[in-house]
Amino acid sequence: MPEILINGQKFEAEAGQTVLEAARAAGIFVPTFCWHPQLSTAGNCRMCLVEVEGRGLDIACNMPVSAGMRVLTDSPEVRAHRRAILQFITLNHPVDCGICDKAGECSLQDYHYAYNGEASISAEPKVRSTKYYNLSSRILLDNERCILCLRCTRFTHEISKSMALGVESRGDVSVIRPVADRPLGDDPYSDNIVDLCPVGALQSRQFLHKTRVWYLEPTPSVCPGCARGCSVNIWHRKPEWHVKTLDPAQNQSIARVTPLENPAVNGPWICNKGRDLARIFERRRATEPMLQGSPVALETALERARELIGAARHPLALVSNWGSNEELDAFQRSLGAVFTAYVKSDSVPQPGERLEDELLIRADKNPNSAAARALYADAPARLPEGTDLVLVWGEGCDFGALPRGARLIFLNAYLAPENGHADVFLPTSVQTERDGHYTNFQGVISGFHACFAKPSGALDAEALFRSLAAPARVHA
């Protein structure tokens, strides 16, 4: 445990640590652009220059700690050099924050205000470059904003291993470019580079010019895209910035999804499917209870369902592996004794979707199979003959394979043709409208929180199960 001095204060550093790591561990912030804890050390931005007494300036990210070293992170020399580095970076940078999506969460902006504050001292025309380079169908590259920190190239070489990005040319006309034959579009983790980019060079097409980040707030959630259950932040408009005119749907929609760092599950990354949760949750919703396709009052539908349950001799339930731990528990407590229950997979791999890899993506495309399977077995290929009632909870049911003649109670959140074929249809809420937990394939439990209010008419499955467990009223 080497003892080092940072700005005159003694700290115990760990052997093998860099000065940057030791400083950050001690709560002393040293600014960086290129450094990232999950990537190899590039040491190219030079923003983390610190002074070591007796040795002069060097970059903290590549400087091993040694006992007794005296580091200054805020000396006049260090401050002058930081200012100069920012002068170099902004020399050819367009400073077009006004039209840049990164504004508000941009390291360059933050450091400029913290460490420079001065306009460019250069009078030279800026080096122009490609303003809109099509990296993939998901990502645009603005080479003028790029500061060549090479986080994105390192990500594709070291983390996603698509080797999709590199640097073309050299000097101040160097540009990030994708390899011709293996476009970044094939990399299911590509959007992480948008988060990794410390400036506004890499832009998500989904998010492009959609909103200002300071109008948004994140709600912690869990990606339901596969059994990994990556922790994510779902970004949506802050209540105080809800729009009243123009497009009020924005108030209820996912602006973007970013990883929420979770060392136990996903580290700082998620895959592109996790970015596209709006595609899952923002499909057209079912909001009306129905009896054989005819809208009815909720109480009527519930009563009819209770009757069917009370009358059934061999009731069977197909339980959703998108149900939260709380919902599964509610089902088991309320209806577990009544139904013979099996686990149904709500979602299966789609054509072209990566099945599985060593980074994050799992073959099971459902978030809570582990918890569901702890209670019930997987549904057999052929359901038992003689079943006279089936309760289907969630999507992914092969209705043609249900026992013939059995009655059907169907709980679904989305509009679907099958909704109208059920004897009783009950509309449910989705993950972004309630709190809950999923158990991932490793047994790690992660929680999600409500971002939006339920549409009127939709119900939480948890409440529905309790309500269905009440005895049916006796008909007159």
Binding site: G166, E168, D181
Partner: protein
């Protein structure tokens, strides 16, 4: 590239095990010598042959000034205009060649015979001014010797 595979195998055998990546530069040089430039298809083939990422080959091609992705004229004149050569008349010589060939540096004559380029230091400062004619150095140039050189070239 196919015709060079045997040669590349022999080259690989000369290097220590695990040095496949090192072969990128020498293989590209041979491809360029044969074809006159490196074609897009060569990149993927070479990357697959050596087991290196294709992006590495693309980076190398764009980083080093001697590699080219497009053909040049039959005679490529690369005139040094760095300090020592300029101190001995290189700047005037470039102007002279521009007038004689009717093209600016970076361009090829319409008949495809000559490409004129300017380069930085060829390490020929003691025999300045100098140029590279394809692979060969031509040194101690004067406008007269350049005229004589152009006469010789078909």
């Amino acid at each position: 590239m196919k015709s060079l595979l045997k040669e590349f195998e022999a080259l690989r055998a000369r290097f220590p095990a695990g040095f496949e990546s090192s072969l990128v530069l020498p293989c590209l040089r041979r491809i360029q010598e044969e074809r006159g430039y490196v074609a897009d298809g060569d990149i993927e083939e070479l990357a697959a042959f050596l087991g290196v990422p294709a992006i590495q080959v693309e980076e190398v091609l764009s980083f080093y000034t001697q590699f080219r992705r497009r053909p040049v004229g039959r005679w490529h004149l690369q005139v040094c205009r760095n300090v020592s050569c300029s101190m001995r008349g290189a700047e005037g010589l470039v102007g002279h060649l521009e007038r004689r060939l009717g093209v600016a540096p970076g361009a090829t004559t319409p008949d495809g015979r000559f490409t004129l380029s300017t380069v930085e230091c060829l390490g020929s400062c003691g025999t300045a001014p100098a140029l590279m004619l394809n692979d060969r150095y031509v040194e101690n140039l004067t406008p007269e010797s350049v005229d004589a050189l152009l006469q010789e070239l078909d």
